[in-house]
Amino acid sequence: MVNLKDPRHQASDSEHSPFTIHYSPFDTLTAPRGERVVVGMSGGVDSSVAAALLVEDGYEVIGVSMRLWGDASGSGCCSLDDFLDARRVAAQLGIPFYVMDFRDVFTRNVVQPFVAEYLAGRTPNPCVHCNQFVKFASFSDRARELGAQWVATGHYARVIRDPQCASAQLWAAVDAAKDQSYFLFAIEPEVLARTLFPLGGLTKTAVREHARRLSLPVAEKPESQEICFAPKGEYADFVARYAGNTVQPLAGAIVDDAGQMLGTHDGIHQFTIGQRRGLGLSAPQPLYVTAIDAQTGTVRVGARAATLAQGLRATRPNWLTDGPLPVGTRLRIKIRSRFAATPVTLGAATEDGFEVWASAGLPAVTPGQAAVLYADDRVVGGGWIERALPVAGAITPAHG
């Protein structure tokens, strides 16, 4: 039987890549069979199948559910039901299972920055923070305490390592529709080198089939997609509630390109770049948020064309190559999770940040979101969007 998880058997959709750098995957070795792996189990179908495949492949697997938020009685993430699902899967697989407490590190590194970013007029990506600090860094520390060199999750992405396991590359999943490599760019290289993604070579359909083949109790469980600690559509309420009386969200004016006041709002945390709905304005043309000024509380709106930038600057980069790539390298970029990767050229690139330029323009460059750089399907690095670089049209953005 073909081992679907072995990248040697994986198809790539980038055979005719037009870009200058081409990486070919190393001939990979995953963790040596029989070694101890701690797999993060959420109670969902993906992480359950990941655990099951590792068991089938002969690893010594330990299941751990991460308690991240809340009192474990409510619905959504970290509910008792999800822990119970994970526990039932682990019992069926015959592997040990533990629930471990990550609430402190989650609150500090995910929830607090989430609130602070919105209050500062940016649009955070808490899932990337969670992966960076909680699901991989802290998690692999706990794994070591359990005597495990390896960690695994049910993320859709591939790790490709050299035979000595000394360094590892992060690649997009084979199933482009499920690919989660965007959310994983900030994993430290040392941690990545000890990480296994058993689902990286599988499609979602194949994962469901595995779950049914194994009669896992979660085989038909629906996906959960929203941010786990704040219900979908209620981020603004969550931010206002969490900030509480300590920091009042900044209210201000809504103005057009010419600085003409069109209305007011009661908090910049309700807006994101490129947003069209919920502005409370009536105008002949659709209006989009083009800039948010955290100093004055002013939200600028304009026509769709005004949201287009020529490039962006990102800070706090994580390079998954041997240091920053040379200026002029042609890459592709994702600036949001649901975003078709767009060709860019790398401007300045250092350990502090990078600039990229896109001849076709980048729509709605949103400070606070992750900018992830790809060469073919390989993630070569990424950073946090600081600002858009001058827009293509005649209008100068507020942050310009």
Binding site: I62, R67, A72, L80, F83, P96, Y98, V99, M100, D101, R103, D141, R142, R144, E145, L146, G147, E190, V191, A193, R194
Partner: protein, 384 residues
């Protein structure tokens, strides 16, 4: 698997299981039925009641069977408060959740609650309780022995003060029964559970001193002299009776055997793993089977999982539904920080423990502690 978690639950004793089996098979009568099948069930329930009463120094008519320690505590506290119609409740900060939550519910409804402080070993003094009894109180509720660290309270002295000012005293003896000699002298209400002393889960009892009025939590068919309605759990009650009968005969030997093993465990751990702190008191002030320790720099959660992987069952804090994370409210009441209160690990020995097991547990624990500390050092140094 070496089982060192006897304060969570105990293996059912073979004699107990044998005593129960007929009542799960052919002797299925309802103890309230008139016919002979029912009559035999009634006789079995009353025989069990006598065994429970004998272990506690009570009269059989003062024993109310319940579904377990949690129900016994709720019936005692809520039932007493609601029957007496007001008045303050005096308790301690280290009680089991079933006491704390029952008291908390009354507090929400307006009852005044006084928490008597404990020292750094979890001990309450009778004088501290007495200080709270200068004003009239509806109930004093103190646990005989603590589940997490094993501290035994001076129940005799506390009972004497309560008797002097005619304040009813409830004692949660779930962890004490079967491990140390206990007696209901001076006590008005006393909770026990079967599965902590080799009996089955799902059955317990509340001693209710003759003359004490309780408002029942469950009403219906008037069983248990109206204190607790519901068809009797005959098999469970028979099992509890058998467990109490055995415990009464063996309590001295049990204490001596456990104490020797427990001290061997402590000496072993202290010798094999540096920087270990004993959170439990020593000698008669502690249950003979219980040892709560903290290894500095080692989270309890991690050590419990690591030991489980190596075949040793222990607990951190007390068991909870989510299975993770809460710092021990007991260790926090003793003055530990929330962080340190996550480090406590409880070894609780029992009838099945042996010296060979203890030696194994020492070496496995020492190795796990070394591994966790090494992992932690690597993290702090940023190595990989």
């Amino acid at each position: 698997m070496i089982y060192c978690d006897h304060n969570a639950t105990t293996p059912i004793r073979p004699e107990v299981l044998e005593a129960m089996l007929p009542f799960l098979r052919n002797e299925y009568g309802n103890a309230s039925s008139v016919h002979r099948l029912g009559s035999r069930a009634r006789c079995a329930v009353e025989e069990a009641r006598a065994h429970v009463a004998a272990l506690l120094g009570a009269r059989p008519s003062e024993i109310v069977f319940t579904s377990g320690g949690t129900e016994s505590n709720n019936l005692a506290i809520q039932g007493m408060a609601r029957a007496s119609g007001g008045g303050a409740i005096v308790t301690t900060p280290i009680e089991h959740a079933s006491v704390r939550e029952a008291v908390g519910r009354l507090q929400e409804e307006g009852t005044v609650v006084h928490e008597v402080p404990v020292n750094d070993l979890g001990q309450v003094t009778a004088a501290a309780v007495a200080a709270r009894l200068s004003e009239p109180c509806a109930l004093v509720s103190v646990g005989w022995a603590n589940n997490e660290i094993g501290t035994v309270q001076p129940i005799g002295d506390i009972a004497a003060f309560c008797g002097r000012c005619a304040t009813p005293l409830h004692v949660d003896a779930v962890q004490a029964v079967g491990k140390i000699p206990i007696h209901v002298r001076g006590v008005d209400l006393l909770s026990i559970s079967a599965h902590k002393l080799g009996g089955p889960k799902g059955v317990g009892a509340l001693f209710v001193r003759s003359g004490i009025e309780l408002r029942p939590l469950l009403v219906g068919g008037g069983q248990e002299r109206g204190h607790r309605a519901g068809t009797e759990n005959v098999a469970g009650i028979v099992g509890m009776g058998a467990a109490c009968r055995l415990a009464a005969a063996e309590i001295g030997a049990y204490g001596e055997a456990c104490l020797a093993l427990r001290e061997a465990l402590w000496e072993g751990l202290r010798g094999a793993a540096p920087d270990v702190c004993r959170n439990s008191p020593v000698d008669a002030e502690c249950l003979p089977n219980t040892l709560n320790v903290s290894f500095s720099g080692v989270r309890g959660e991690a050590l419990v999982a690591a030991l489980d992987l190596d075949g040793v069952a222990v607990s951190s804090g007390s068991a909870c539904a989510a299975g993770a994370g809460e710092p021990s409210h007991v260790l926090m009441a003793l003055g530990h920080t929330a962080d340190a209160a996550r480090d406590g690990v409880r070894f609780s020995l029992g009838r099945t423990s042996t010296m060979a097991e203890i030696e194994h547990v020492v070496s496995i624990t020492a190795a796990a502690v070394r591994r966790i500390r090494a992992a932690r050092r690597r993290m702090l140094n940023g190595e990989c």
